[in-house]
Each structure stands twice: as structure tokens, then as C-alpha cells.
Symmetry: C2
């Protein structure tokens, strides 16, 4: 028994914010029984992943060990925790466990992917626990910006682990369970070996604020508005959606939900009993026919997403509704770093329409869903773990959280994606580096982040593309001249002749000079043509484009 | 004489932050004598302008009227004000006027582009003025985040205009002239018809802070650091560079400048007498051989620019210098919206090296160069203009600034790029909309923003690219089968055969079915092949790529 070990292995989420996937294992080295906590995704951007639909963690390591996998637990229904569950069900096959609201959304995802809904099991909250192989796991309610978020207590033969999940310490969260300090302190009674802990807001020095603190401010804003009032927030922030809707109702406005995610989240919340007495909503048609001052729209797109309701309203119209002067648009949200351009684009579009935009620069209309630095320290002290293992953060967050742990008197362990930690060792160390990375969902297929497909797209975007076609007949003689097309390049360069003509001329000359050995060798010919094309392009327009050469051999 | 008019026409900078270019004109409609204030550029990004080198304003309107253009004035040497001067010298040809420091940098740009340095004229500051056609123009010193920034007093037959330039009200700016309230009040004595006014920080409700307020904090930080101390800021923020260097010197550190812009700016500042008693600097070689605690590097790249010193140090090495644990890196700067990803990337790379990064989230190590809302109001009241015309801002800034002007009791005029305002009318209105836009410097050629080149690149980046080649012989018969290549697409789709093979098979079948009319008509054939390729691709990989078809007719 003594050579069994307890391992922690993040496959996603440690060294980035997004696509969380944390493996725990217990057993003989290489034969551990495994569980997976969360299986999320992250979103692509034009900077590094143009054309990609979704970014998933590379689960190859776990797929190869699927027979060791007991269960997948989903702490809450944010996409960076639940989003990849259905994408990998076929390859992992393990049962999925979550509380009712999260399970409801997981089942919708499974069903959309043609997977059995019954693979998703609803579990009750702590103190109920269940055994999964060598692990005994319980879901402990904790407040966050989505209903029924949970931390996990994972009891193992080597001691108790606490996986915080995403959390804040909200004593009055509007929807769902308040942070229960006594409950969390009680978890520490048997002793906690390690706390895996959310690091998102480790750089924020202020104590976190409660969801309940902003209701009054939002009400005052809605009261003072004259035209239509539109508000956006993450649809999954059901407490916020409720606060907004109630502020609207009190101001005598009817509530209309716009955007699929918004309707779906409210629906799931009501179905699972998370959301009660939500104001009655009206249809977009009804909203359109009412006096503007009597309407409040709650819309998707707080991050400026191009297809969301907020962006479409900014471009003119969504479901027949058009905004205009004297209307108000509230971002009850924070812009996630990297999304600024999209959000600013929308704000300027609204400005052109005469719509007054209110964002959260005043701090009055939004609170974060993550624990700030003092709250992280408070959790450390409540649980008094032997080790703190920061997760859910970029490298800078993890490193800072390790420092914070040390200053609180707890040993911090910095483990990024792929770093397998033996928590049962006398001095826990990284025992192995596992290959991790990203898998792209591109259209309907998965491609590896490193297999060059997206790199080629970015190169075409940066450099443009020249296509060259050469036909070689049965006698290894060039038939006609090389043909050339360009895409994404200036039509004309310094010589003031069409770039295509200059290219074809130079390519012809090259072929005229080429010896038979070159003409007979596809690789050599291609290399020569590419070199000439890039050189000509450099001279003409100052760019070195991507070049594709198609050699058609009639003899073949 | 009575039908002469005074016009204001922004060609860039009004409705965006970047590429400032403001035209003023006086004379009979259509025959006005013109001056141009500033001629800047803006920077491309992967989101909307992949592969583009620089973005310039579309100056076509002015180029067509170059014989009416008296002069170009450059208020200060930031790239968004000076950057396009040399790019358009060939097409505009007008003399350029600026104060010594700005002129020094303008001459360097002219010379790099092979234009005569003597086209740039150095002017003295207010109260000196000169006549340029119907205008009398003086450069009034005003504080900003670069030396010798100036507002312009533009006296016209219809009254006095004040063009604020970029400004803040800094009574102790470290380098250059302090904001002189009495001087600015005196400008109002003859009455001010219109104030064209910086709008950048109109949403910031706090009074602006002086450059001199942060020196102490920076010194304390440098004093407390142990390893190498590295700081970045905009190189053109010479006051900041001086504050940083002096803090380093007082802490017993030798100063090393890294990055071309950093050396060039300090050089120009010393040459023009703007910067005096700057600490002696050492070379990178010397820096490398000194104890780390005795060195301070001042480096370019505060916005995370990929080629700048900060990014290269983050990737491992720059000019032989490598950072490591216990070193400190200070961002004495604010991240411009849209640049967050690049900056965060660098911070995480430093975190991995063990370098402590300090950014400006505390507000202690950076102050803005632009006037905040209360300072804008103060300028309104100092000058008491008949009209306030907000400039240097996105639409939301201009609109808010108009509102602020109105609430201060001054008529605000919202004029975006292309809106020509007749300031001499009884009620100034927009009399004409001129076509404006963006010109891209792409490699070594200029292309129009709307001519489709960049759009094609973005489409290739988002959708991938299929190239199809068909050879048709002298008898209008297909020779062999269609050839196909892909770039930026998954190699294999749902049928588990190479995508290229599936495409070629489907294309062959299409050609087999095609009638003679289709085969003889390039356009029809191309359309048919494109449709099949996109359909097959959609089925196989769920994407609809860009398709280029090359039809080679041997008869031609």
C-alpha cells in the first residue's frame, strides 16, 4: 500500500484563464484511479486563432487512460468549466456529476451533441457525499456569479483535498446559497491536506463586494431613464439578471429577454428552482409596440460578441427592435481583457445613434464573481491546508497566489498545466511533466493547435497569397507559360504594371533559364518558382507572400 | 467679401483616437486657402488590418486641392500627429512648420523617406506668430506627455480659433513649459470664435495629476528593488524617461537605454535643448558586466509591441541581456485599449522567469498626458469660446464633450471625420460631407481600406483557402482531372480520407457532368467548381473556405 500516491494534474486552467480541467488520481504510479474536475473551453480570437470556433484542452493524456477514469465533476455551468464536456464525451465516456442547475445545462449540451442525457447525474449538496473509486466527493455550495456553484471536498486515503472552484465570499448573493463561513470552517476539522484555489482576483487588494450592493444603484439608474432601458450582463449571472429585471419592474417597465443564452439561462434557472418569482417577461413584438419608457430589454453580448443581441442592436436592429436617442444602454459587466475593442466598437455605434451608454467605470453597476486577495487569505485561514495549490489563473496569478499563501503561512505549490504533483510525497514535488495543449474545434472537426493549419491561415492574413500553376507535358517540357493568381495583395506595385503580369513575366524567365534537372524535379521547381515569386513581390510591393505552387504533369 | 467663409474639416482624428489631420480653410466656397494641422497615423491590428504596416488617413480631398494648401503645422511629435507627414510629402508638397523638438523629429522622418529636410521649418513659440495666406498662426506651449507640445492660435478674418492640440494642465511637468493659466486666459482677450479641443479623457471625472507627483513613488520602488531594474514607458514621454533615470541614478544605478525609439528620443531631446542634465548612460555590454543591482534599463515596448525591447527581453534576450528571478520590471504606462493581450503576454513571460512585474493598477507610477473632464471645463472657461468643437476622440468622446460644453454654457459642435463645418455662418452647420477613410501602408505600397485586399486576407484567415486548377485543351476538353491544394484547412474531415482527395473526386464528378457550354465559359466553370468545393468542404469539415480557381486554357 505504501507506494500508492495521490496526484494532482491540471490539463487546463493552470497558466491561463479558461478551459479548466483538473485531474486527481490515487493508486500505484501509472495505475492511479482518476477523476476529472471540470472540462471547459476557451474562446478564440483573431490575434492567434482566426477562424477557429472553440478552443478545447488537449485531453490526449486522459483519453489514453479512459479506463482509469471514474467520473467527471462539473463545479458550475460557466463555459470555461462545462463547455467541453459534450465535446469529449465520445472519447472519455465517463459519467458526469453535477448539481441540479449545472446538470440541467450539461444535459442540454449532451443532447445537442447527440450524446445520452442520462450520462449526466444530479448530485445533492454537502453534507451528502459519494464514493468514486478511492475518492469520496461532496459538492459544497459556494457563491459565484452563477447559480449552484460548488467547491468540492475530495477525501482520499492520503487526506482531504478541497477544490475551491470559482468562488467569492458573498453573504447576500441574491440568488442561491450565501457563503457559509461556519460550514467552510467545519470542512477543516479532519485537517486539509491541500486547497486547490481560484486565483483570478489575487491582484485585487480590496475586500470583495456582495451582489446585493449594486441593486440600489441599478434601480436609481433605471428610475432616472426616460427612453428604452437596455442592460447586458453574462446571461449565466442569474442573480444580476434578477436584480436588473426587478429594478425594471419597480420602475414600471416590462421585461423582455433578447438573445438565446439569456432566455435559456432564465429557463434553466426556473426549471431547476434556482430562480423564483422572476418578473413576467414579454415578447420582442410586445416590447416594440409599448411606449419606450415602459420597456426594459435584458440582452446578451456584454463582451461585445459580434453575433450577440447587443452588437446586433448596435448595428441597427434585433428582432425588429431599434434603439434611438434618449434610450439608455447599461453594461452591468466588466470587459474581459482582450475584448475591449469589441465593446468599444458597440459603445461608439450607440453613441452615433444618440443612445446613452453607461459602463462600469464608476464601479456602481457590477461586482466580480471571484474572491479578491483578502478573501483568498480568509479562505486559507478558514481551511488551514498543509498546501495551497493555486489554479484558475495565468502564470502571474498563480505565482502571486503562491507568494500570498507563503505570507499567510501555508506552503504554496506552483503547478501549471501538465505539471503532475505528488501530493502524498513528504515534500510534494512535480513528478512528471505531461504534454498538454490546445485542441481547436474548427468548423466541425478537431485540429491540433500545433499542426500548422491555423499558422498557415495567419500567414496568409499577414503576407497575402500567390498561387502559381505550371503545366508540364509528357516530354517534361513546360506547356505555355506559368499562370499566376494573387489573393490579399495589392493589384499593382512600384512598376505600375499589374503585379500578376510582373510575376508571370519573371516566372517565365526563370523557367526559360531552368535546366532539365530542375524541370523534372517537382520539389526543385517549386522551390525555384516560390523564390522568384517572393523576390518579385518584395521588389514590387515590399511584401513576401505565402506561395502555393501547383505543378500539373500531364504524364502523371 | 461677404461670401468668404471659414471652414473646419477633420480628415482624421474626429471619431477615432489616432491619425489626426484637421483642415482649416478661408475664402470663397471651394476656393478657400487651406492649412492642415497635424498629419498622423494609427497602428494596425490583427483583428481588422492583418499584415498592414501602418494606417494613414485618406488625404485624397486635400491632395486634389494641394495648390490651395498654404502650410502643414505639427503640434507635437507623437506618431498620431506627426507620423504621416513624410508619407504624404510627395503628394501634398506643402511646407511643414513645428517647434524645434518636433521639427527635429520631422526632419529625421523626411530624410528617411528621401524628402528634403529643409521642407520642415522651425518656428518659435507664442507670442511670435506668422502669416500663412489668410491665417496668422502662433504656437502656444501647453503641457502634454512629450516635449514642446503646442496648441495653436489661428487668427482669421472671421475671428480667432484656438486648436488645443493634445494637452493637460500640468503646473510642474518636469520637462518643458508648465501650463501657464495667465497666458491661456490672455488668448481670450480678443474673443475666441471656436475652441477645437482634445476629448481623450472626457470620461475621467478626476482632476488631472501632474507628472511631478509620481517621482517619489518611482524612487521608493527603485530603492526597494534588489536585482536588475527595468522600466518601460513611451519613449517620447521624455519627462518620464528623465524621472525614471534620475530615480535610478539616486539609487546608485547606471542607466542603459534599450530600443531604437528610446535612444532616438533622448538624442533628439538633448540636441534640441529640451532635455538637460540627463544622467550619463551606459552601453548594453557594460550593463551586462555590472552587478545587477547597479543597473537600470529603460526600454521600449510599453504596449507589448512584439518587436520592442520589452517583448524581446520577455522572450529571453535582447542585446545580450537576459532577465531572471529577483529582477523587477515596471510598466510606467497605461495599456491602450486593444493592447491588453500583448501586455499580458509579456507579464506572464516575466512571471515564468521569476521577474516581479509592477504595473500601474495602483495608479502610483503613471499619470495621463491628457486633460480630464474638470480640466477640459477649466479650459472652456479660460477661453470662453463661442463654440467648442471636440476633436481627438472616438464618437463617444466627442459626444460627451459636446454635452460637457453645453453644460458649461458653450455651444458644442459635433463634427466627425469628413464633416465640413462653416464656422463663419450665423449658426455653424455642417455644410458638406467629404469622403474620408483610411489608407494602408502595406509593405511598400499604399492601398485603400475598402479595395478588398485586406478583406481577402481576413477571409483566408477565417475560412482557409482552396486552390483548384483545371486544364482545358485546344478542343475545350478537360485535360486530366482537376488538381486541388488547400492551405489553412484540416487535412482530413469526417470521411477520414484526405480532404484534397475528396475534393478532387467531387470536382471530377462535377466536370464529368458539366455540359459543353459550362466548359467553354470560364466564369460558369469557375462558379460551378467553387460551389462544389465549398459544399464538399462544408460536409467534410464544416467550413466554407475561400476558393481560387485557375483555369488554364491551352488554346489561349
Amino acid at each position: 500500500m505504501s507506494n500508492e500516491r495521490l496526484i494532482y494534474l491540471p490539463l487546463g486552467g493552470a497558466g491561463e484563464i479558461g478551459m479548466n480541467a483538473y485531474v486527481y488520481g490515487y493508486g500505484k504510479p501509472g495505475k492511479e484511479r482518476l477523476i476529472l474536475v471540470d472540462l471547459g473551453l476557451t474562446f478564440p480570437d483573431m490575434d492567434g486563432t482566426p477562424g477557429v470556433d472553440l478552443i478545447l484542452p488537449d485531453m490526449q493524456w486522459l483519453i489514453e487512460r479512459r479506463d482509469q477514469l471514474e467520473a467527471i465533476f462539473v463545479t458550475h455551468a460557466h463555459e470555461d468549466h462545462i463547455g467541453a464536456v459534450a465535446h469529449f464525451y465520445g472519447e472519455l465516456g465517463a459519467p458526469i456529476y453535477a448539481r441540479a442547475f449545472t446538470a440541467n445545462l450539461a444535459r442540454r449540451k449532451m443532447s445537442e451533441h447527440g450524446h445520452p442525457e442520462k450520462a449526466v447525474h444530479t448530485v445533492s449538496a454537502w453534507p451528502e457525499t459519494r464514493e468514486y473509486g478511492p475518492f469520496e466527493v461532496g459538492f459544497v455550495p459556494i457563491s459565484h456569479s452563477i447559480p449552484e456553484s460548488s467547491g468540492l471536498v475530495i477525501d482520499t486515503p492520503k487526506g482531504r483535498l478541497v477544490h475551491s472552484g470559482d468562488f467569492k465570499m458573498d453573504r447576500n448573493p441574491i440568488v442561491g446559497e450565501a457563503f457559509d463561513e461556519d460550514l467552510w470552517r467545519s470542512l477543516a476539522e479532519p485537517g486539509v491536506l491541500a486547497l486547490m484555489c481560484d486565483s483570478t482576483n489575487v491582484f485585487n487588494p480590496h475586500p470583495g463586494r456582495s451582489e446585493s450592493e449594486i441593486g440600489g444603484e441599478i434601480e436609481a439608474l433605471v428610475e432616472s431613464a426616460e427612453g428604452m432601458f437596455v442592460a447586458t450582463t453574462f446571461a449565466s449571472n442569474v442573480a444580476r439578471v434578477k436584480t436588473l429585471a426587478e429594478a425594471g419592474k419597480r420602475a414600471g417597465r416590462s421585461i423582455c429577454l433578447l438573445g438565446r443564452a439569456m432566455r435559456r439561462m432564465v429557463e434553466a434557472s426556473i426549471e431547476t428552482g434556482v430562480l423564483t418569482d422572476f418578473p413576467k417577461t414579454i415578447s420582442p413584438e410586445d416590447a416594440k409596440s409599448m411606449p419606450r419608457g415602459n420597456v426594459m430589454l435584458l440582452v446578451t453580448g456584454s463582451q461585445g460578441e459580434r453575433r450577440a443581441a447587443s452588437a446586433q442592436l448596435a448595428q441597427g436592429k434585433y428582432q425588429g427592435i431599434t434603439l434611438k436617442g434618449n434610450d439608455t444602454f447599461l453594461f452591468s459587466s466588466k470587459t474581459i481583457p482582450g475584448n475591449e475593442r469589441g465593446v468599444i466598437r458597440i459603445i461608439n455605434q450607440y453613441s452615433e445613434m444618440g443612445v446613452d451608454v453607461v459602463d462600469d467605470s464608476s464601479g456602481k453597476y457590477h461586482v466580480s464573481g471571484h474572491a479578491n486577495r483578502p478573501d483568498l487569505s480568509a479562505l486559507h485561514h478558514l481551511l488551514e491546508p498543509k498546501y495551497v495549490v493555486p489554479m484558475h489563473g495565468e502564470h502571474r496569478h498563480l505565482r502571486e497566489h503562491v507568494k500570498l499563501s507563503q505570507s499567510n503561512g501555508f506552503k504554496g505549490i506552483l503547478a501549471v498545466n501538465g505539471a503532475m504533483v505528488d501530493l502524498s510525497a513528504k515534500k510534494p514535488t512535480i513528478v512528471e511533466y505531461v504534454e498538454t495543449g490546445r485542441t481547436y474545434l474548427d468548423g466541425s472537426v478537431k485540429i491540433g493547435a500545433l499542426d500548422g493549419v491555423v499558422r498557415d491561415r495567419m500567414r496568409m492574413a499577414l503576407n497575402g497569397h500567390i498561387m502559381i500553376n505550371v503545366i508540364i507535358d509528357e516530354d517534361d517540357e513546360i506547356l505555355g507559360d506559368p499562370w499566376c493568381e494573387i489573393k490579399g495583395l495589392a493589384e499593382e506595385g512600384h512598376s505600375r504594371a499589374p503585379l500578376v503580369d510582373v510575376l508571370e513575366e519573371d516566372l517565365s524567365q526563370f523557367i526559360g533559364r531552368a535546366n532539365n534537372k530542375t524541370l523534372m524535379d517537382d520539389e526543385k521547381l517549386e522551390e525555384g518558382l516560390r523564390k522568384v515569386a517572393r523576390q518579385t513581390s518584395q521588389t514590387e510591393i515590399g511584401k513576401r507572400p505565402e506561395v502555393s505552387v501547383i505543378i500539373s504533369r500531364l504524364s502523371a
